[in-house]
Symmetry: C2
Subunit: 161 residues, 2 copies
DNA sequence: GCATTCGGTTTCATTTCGCAACCCACTCCC
DNA sequence: GGGAGTGGGTTGCGAAATGAAACCGAATGC
């Protein structure tokens, strides 16, 4: 299977990865969440080649994750901003940062800290159950086939309700 | 910058992506969380070419995310299982699935549902603050330079305490 | 007029991917 | 014992993606 066919899999991860699964794309998104908005800054801060930055930003705009906006006419300058769909990736980024902090600490501590303005503390994201609100223990989560998988061969493997 | 230098960035995301940022790697991990353990199953279920499966599984083992274990001597058969470091990616996977469900619904509903055994309901992961426990609103989270960034040029850009 | 900045595009050598074919150890079945 | 089948890979090769650097063009700044 080629990479550009993976979004046809009946899998939310495959579909998500078809848009953001690229090596550089998530780094660009990291920058977007750090309020980077301009082409040259994306290129410099991620360390990606400019042609790749150009290509990936365009794809993110096409996917509706970033929005390109003219913010100045003379000289014409555009900026790339997160759309609601893009902002909704915040939990993914937070989870990734937390994992990196835990398992790739170089002994000097986290490079970046998150502060929760609501309570004022340094924090990380902790997954909680949308139904009962308690903290999630991975072993307490089971998977089953949902409506989007009915009648497909994978349904057996995963098991349904 | 080449991709294999990316883990030198003082950024937890960059470091995390250096291990799991590959296109196919996250699909393999999806399968691992669905209790896939054998080579042929990984290849078939992700749709990746076998040489890539071989290469990526090896890298995941080297990274300590999967563990290769002989579970039968004659004929020799190994299986790949998630280590604690690998299991700790659960929040990342959950977040990705949820995003995929929200923004890539093909009209038939989620392909896979998560059930919280603790409360018995279909759920998704909702990030909550590790300090105060309330649900996180992305706009209420600010970022600042942490100890791992002290003295580096990026520190200014991000702003410190 | 001349240099500089921003935001790219083009070119081209190097890597990586995708696919099919091959290999080997072992088991099953007759 | 011969032949087919299975699990778990490796090899080889053409096609596609990547990375570095050069180039471009519009708009200032001086």
């Amino acid at each position: 299977m080629k990479w550009d066919e993976i979004d046809q899999q009946p899998c939310s991860i495959a579909r998500a990865l078809s848009e953001i699964g690229d090596r550089w794309t998530l780094l660009l998104l990291r920058e977007a969440f750090l309020r980077t908005r301009r082409f040259a800054d994306f290129a410099e801060r991620t360390g990606a080649a400019r042609n790749l930055v150009s290509d990936r930003l365009e794809k993110l705009v096409a996917a509706g994750i970033l929005e390109r906006r003219r913010y100045q006419e003379r000289p014409p300058r555009d900026e790339y901003r997160l759309t609601p769909k893009g902002l909704d990736l915040h939990p993914v980024i937070m989870a990734l940062v937390h994992w990196g902090d835990r398992w790739h600490d170089d002994g000097r501590g986290a490079p970046v800290e998150h502060v929760h303005r609501t309570c004022g503390h340094v924090m990380h994201a902790e997954p909680s159950c949308s139904a009962c609100g308690t903290r999630i223990d991975p072993r307490e989560v089971t998977v089953r086939a949902g409506p989007g998988l009915r009648g497909l061969p994978d349904a057996d493997r995963i098991g349904s309700a």
